[in-house]
Symmetry: C2
Subunit: 222 residues, 2 copies
């Protein structure tokens, strides 16, 4: 499949690009508001993968063009940019495409990191509201430390939780997630259940901060 | 240490009583609003442990008397009973005691299970507000499936998250948790971070519901 990582020049975009490039044969396209940055990032990820012995080429485009090329369109942007990014991509999406949202609302105050959902109740709900009705929206890949994804020598051995109301699309994204070695996809319900999944992101940050020798944490359900 | 499990006739109380009885030498006291129920439960847990070859005796009392006997007082009651239970216990607690709260606010609607905190922001915060200022409050043992705790043949191999503002008390409860084989205690911050920990409870229920072959789930951070 063709995967478009909008905002793919950031940490989570880099992590997903490298992991999809390393473990799978899917085509990866990097999107950015700035096409030069998209191109530079795509080149850097390609170099990294080639050095790892993977013969692949990642390409980079402005977000709208990347969305046009993608069948699975990832919103690798902070929560306050997801609605804008969906708006840019919307005309380029068809009902065969799937939007994937990995973002979680996190705020920091003097007591540390907290879940801070948008008024829609969750980022997944915000994206579902903003997306064209015909395009399914799946929340996934939330709780993956970018530092662990980008270190291709690191085994993952962690779970990712899938959120969405379209069962077929959710299965597609679950299969895609499990194309990455060491990643297990678990169904975590519909969009109405997204807040509990997104809440894991600040919790993982806090647990990593509070416990020595725990870094780049993931979570496993057993 | 002497552990008092107020509301210890319920699922999580049974699970903790059996696990502390099985793996540790701590004295376990069951509390209930009804002293006969406390006594009957204590007798049943004692029988179960004796059958497992553990020579121990768990005792049962009305909640107030159980709190008086406990150094570590667990509120094994639903969120809407924690304030009442603290009020019953308050006069029996000293500054050397520690209150432990494992409850999480969960509501169920047509979309499944959701985190539903009390107006204090979390059950841990509610308990901290209700408890005497001199008695530290630690949130812990939230995300443990009662069915897994009560099955003493089941290996745990899961984590429990500690929440609280009193570092010394938090360490004491962490050490106590790790006296149970297969349970690792991780610091998850102060009372202000409790909501993210308590949110795991509905998430675990949802993930167990949505995925075949996953039952009595726990969580591991790695």
């Amino acid at each position: 499949m063709r995967l478009a990582l909008l905002g793919g020049t950031g940490d989570i975009g880099e992590g997903l690009a490298l992991r999809f490039g390393f473990h799978t044969n899917h085509d990866v396209v990097i999107g950015s508001r700035d096409p030069d940055k998209a191109h530079d990032a795509a080149e850097a990820y390609t170099d990294e993968l080639n050095e790892q012995g993977v013969d692949t080429k990642i390409t980079g485009f402005e977000n709208e063009m990347a969305a046009d090329r993608g069948e699975i369109v990832f919103l690798c942007v902070p929560p306050y940019h997801v609605a804008d990014t969906v708006a840019v991509a919307a005309d380029r999406l068809s009902s065969d495409d799937i939007i994937v949202t990995p973002a979680a609302g996190v705020k920091r105050d003097e007591d540390g990191f907290h879940y801070h959902p948008p008024s829609a109740g969750s980022v997944t709900a915000l994206v579902a509201d903003a997306a064209p009705d015909s395009v399914p929206v799946i929340g996934a890949f939330h709780n993956l430390a970018a530092g662990r994804l980008t270190n291709l020598d690191a085994d993952l051995g962690i779970d990712t939780l899938l959120i969405g109301d379209d069962t077929t699309a959710k299965e597609t994204i679950g299969d895609l997630a499990e194309d990455i070695d060491g990643l297990r996809a678990l169904d975590a319900g519909g969009v109405a259940n997204a807040a509990e999944v997104e809440s894991l992101t600040p919790l993982l940050i806090t647990v990593a901060q509070q416990n020595e020798d725990l870094h780049d944490l993931g979570v496993t359900f057993d």
